[in-house]
Subunit: 388 residues, 2 copies
C-alpha cells in the first residue's frame, strides 16, 4: 500500500467536501474570470474613503506595521466606543471590545466559547449559510427558526420564543439580515432577550450591516443593557468597503472578552495593525462616507427591486436594510442551480438561495452595494438572460 495514502488516512477530515461556501468558490472563479460582474460576494463593491486610505498609507510609512496587543490598540477600542455612542446611542467601554480578523473571527471565537457538544443553537432560515457548519462542528444541535416569506421575511419574535428552552445555549440574530435585508423591532428584541435570560441563553447579534437601513432604525442588542448574555459582532469591512483588511470587532461582557482574547492569541495573535491605526483616526470623521454609502445603496436597491419585479416570474420584496435583495424565482425557474448557471452564463455571479436554508429554494441572493454603473450593467445582463 502506498505510504502516502496510509499516513494521510490517519487524519480525520475536519470538514466535509460539501461544506465549502459557494461564495468562496465564487471568489476563486472571479479571480479566474475578470469579466464576471460580481454580485455574489458579501462586500461593499465600491471605493473605500480616500481619507481612510491616506490614514493607512501614513500609518504604514510611519512604521505601524508591527504586532499590536491581542485585544487591539487602546486607540481603536476608544474610537469604537465613541463610534457606537454616535451611531447607535449605546454606551460601551474599551474593556468590552476585542478587535478581530473580520466579523468571521468574532463569530468563530464567540461560538467556540459558548457551545458545548449537545447544546442547541437557533439559526434563522433563511440566514447566512456558514453558521450551520460552524456550530455543528462544535457539536451543537442546530434548530432553525423560520422567517416568514409572506411578511417580507421580518424577524418576528414568536418563532424564536417558542424554540427557547433550557438546552438552548445560543440564538443567532442577524439584523439587517443576510440575505433578506429584514430587520427586527425593538419590541421583538426585548421579548426575546427577556425569555432568553430566564433560560440562560446567549444572543449572538450579528450587526455588520448596521449602516445599511432604508426604513426604520437599527435596533442594536447593545441598547438593552444585557451584556450578561449578549455578544455583538460588528465589522469595518462591510461598512467601509475594506473587506480585505480583515478588521472586525466583538462587544461583550469583560469576562467573555478576556476568554476570547486569550483564545485569539492562538489563532491570529492580533488583528491587522495598519487598519487599527487608520480606522482609529478615521472613525470620528466617517459620517459623510456612511451617509453616501447608504444613499448609493438605497438608490441601487430601489432600481434593482423595480427592474427585477418587471421580469415575468420574478418577485423581489423590498429589503428594509442590508446590501442584498433575495428575489423569488420559483415561477421563472424553480431550480436554483439552473437559475445560477443561467445568470452565470450571462456574466453575472449571484449566490444560489439554498445556501441560506430550506426556505432559500428558488431564490438567489443578489448584492447591490456597488457603483451604479456596475448595478446597471448587471441588471442589463440579467434582464437579457431572464427575458430570453
Amino acid at each position: 500500500m502506498n505510504p502516502d495514502i496510509l499516513t494521510l488516512q490517519k487524519i480525520n477530515p475536519i470538514i466535509k467536501e460539501t461544506e465549502s461556501s459557494p461564495i468562496r468558490d465564487m471568489m476563486k472563479r472571479m479571480e479566474e474570470t475578470p469579466d464576471l460582474i460580481n454580485l455574489a460576494s458579501g462586500e461593499a463593491n465600491f471605493d473605500a474613503s480616500p481619507e481612510l486610505i491616506e490614514n493607512a498609507v501614513e500609518a504604514m510609512k510611519t512604521g505601524r506595521n508591527r504586532y499590536t496587543s491581542t485585544n487591539g490598540t487602546p486607540e481603536i477600542r476608544s474610537a469604537i466606543a465613541s463610534f457606537l455612542d454616535v451611531q447607535m446611542g449605546v454606551a460601551v467601554n474599551p474593556e468590552n471590545i476585542l478587535l478581530t480578523v473580520g466579523g468571521m473571527e468574532a463569530i468563530y471565537l464567540a461560538t467556540r466559547l459558548l457551545i458545548n457538544p449537545g447544546d442547541t443553537v437557533l439559526l434563522p432560515d433563511p440566514g447566512w449559510g456558514i453558521m450551520k457548519p460552524i456550530t455543528q462542528r462544535l457539536g451543537a444541535k442546530v434548530r432553525f427558526y423560520p422567517l416568514s416569506r409572506k411578511k417580507s421575511w421580518h424577524i418576528n419574535a414568536e418563532p424564536i420564543l417558542e424554540r427557547i428552552d433550557d438546552q438552548c445555549k445560543l440564538i443567532v440574530i442577524n439584523s439587517p439580515s443576510n440575505p433578506t435585508g429584514a430587520t427586527i423591532t425593538r419590541e421583538a428584541y426585548a421579548a426575546i432577550l427577556e425569555k432568553a435570560r430566564r433560560h440562560g441563553t446567549f444572543i449572538l447579534s450579528d450587526e455588520v450591516y448596521h449602516n445599511y437601513l432604508y426604513s426604520g432604525e437599527h435596533v442594536s442588542a447593545l441598547s438593552f443593557d444585557a451584556l450578561d448574555h449578549v455578544i455583538v459582532v460588528n465589522s469595518f469591512s462591510k461598512t467601509f468597503a475594506v473587506t480585505g483588511w480583515r478588521l472586525g470587532y466583538v462587544i461583550a461582557h469583560p469576562w467573555v472578552i478576556r476568554q476570547m482574547g486569550v483564545y485569539k492569541e492562538t489563532i491570529s495573535l492580533c488583528s491587522y495593525s495598519v487598519g487599527q491605526w487608520a480606522m482609529a483616526q478615521y472613525l470620528p470623521r466617517c459620517q459623510p462616507y456612511l451617509d453616501d454609502a447608504r444613499n448609493l445603496c438605497r438608490r441601487n436597491m430601489e432600481k434593482m427591486v423595480e427592474r427585477l419585479n418587471a421580469i415575468p416570474g420574478v418577485k423581489c420584496p423590498v429589503p428594509q436594510g442590508g446590501i442584498y435583495v433575495f428575489p423569488d424565482f420559483s415561477e421563472f425557474e424553480p431550480s436554483a442551480d439552473k437559475l445560477f448557471q443561467c445568470l452565470l452564463d450571462s456574466g453575472v455571479a449571484v449566490v444560489p438561495g439554498p445556501f441560506f436554508g430550506v426556505q432559500g429554494e428558488s431564490h438567489a441572493r443578489i448584492m447591490f452595494a456597488a457603483s451604479e454603473e456596475i448595478i446597471d450593467r448587471g441588471l442589463d445582463r440579467m434582464e437579457a438572460a431572464l427575458n430570453a
Copy 2:
C-alpha cells in the same frame, strides 16, 4: 442571585486564566509604557523595506482592499513557490500553499486538522510556550523532547526518535529554534522523517526564522519529498518586519491544504489582501533586504553574546540562527521572575525562560532583531542592572 452571574456561569471557560502568553501581556505593557526597550516580542524590530511599503501603498490606492480567495491570490501563491525555490531549492506548487493570518493561524489550522483527543504530540523543551496550550485544548497528550543545554541546545534526533510510537500523531520541529536559535542537521531530520512515516506521524515544521542563519544552512522539511506527512509553517511577518500585517503561509499536501482552506473560511475567510498583492511583487526582489537583515542580526547577536558573557554569572551560548539569545542566569539570579523584574525596572522587556519549558528555568529570551542603536541601549541598561 444576580442573573448576570447565572448566565455567564453557564459558559465553560475555554482557557485558563494562567494561559495568556507573557509575550502578549508584554505587548499590552509596551503600549502603556513607551520608554521600555522591547526585546520581548517575537518580531523583527527594524524597518520594513521601503519598496515593500511602496507596493502596499500602490495596492491600497488601486483598490486591492477587498476579499481575496480563501487560499490566497494565484499571484502570491506562485510568488511563494518561486521564493521557496530560490531560498531553499525546493519545488512546491501553488496548490500546496495556503495563505494564513500569520504563522499563528497556520499552526492553529494544522493542529486542528491533525489532533484528535488522546493523540500524543511531541514538543521541544525549551520551545515556544504557546504550543502546549494549543495542542492540549485539542485533547492532545503533550510529551516533551529535551534539547540538550550542554550541546548548545542542538536539535538532536535521539530524544525524538525514542519517543515516536503509534500514538504519536505529531512532532513539532522548530529550526531555527525559538527561543534557543538552535538548528537541526539534514541527517537528524532524515532519521526523524523515516521513523515518523513508519508510525504515521506528522511533522509540523515551523520554519518562520529560516532567513536568520549564522552558521550552517537552513534545512527545510520541504527538501525531503515527504509532503505526505509534513506540514511546513512559514511567515512573512518575521522575515520582512511586518508582523502587524498578519501574513503567513502553510505548505502541505493538496488534500491537507483543502481541508485547512475550508476550515479557514469559518475563522478568517481570507488573509490580508493588500499584503498579498504587495508581497507578490516584492518577493522576486527581496534578496538584498534579506541579506541586510541577516547581517544586521548577526552583528547584533555577536555583540549581545559578547557583552552578556562578560557579565559575571551570565552564560550566553552562541545561537546558530533565529533572532533570540537564551542566556543562563542561574549563577546570577535563579528566579526567572526576579530576573525579569530586575530587567524590567532597568527599562528592558524580555521573556522569562519558564514560558519555554522546564529547561527554561533561570533563563530569559532576549530578542536581537532591532537596530544597532536599540540593541546598544538595551545592553547598556541590562549591564547597568546586572552589574549593580
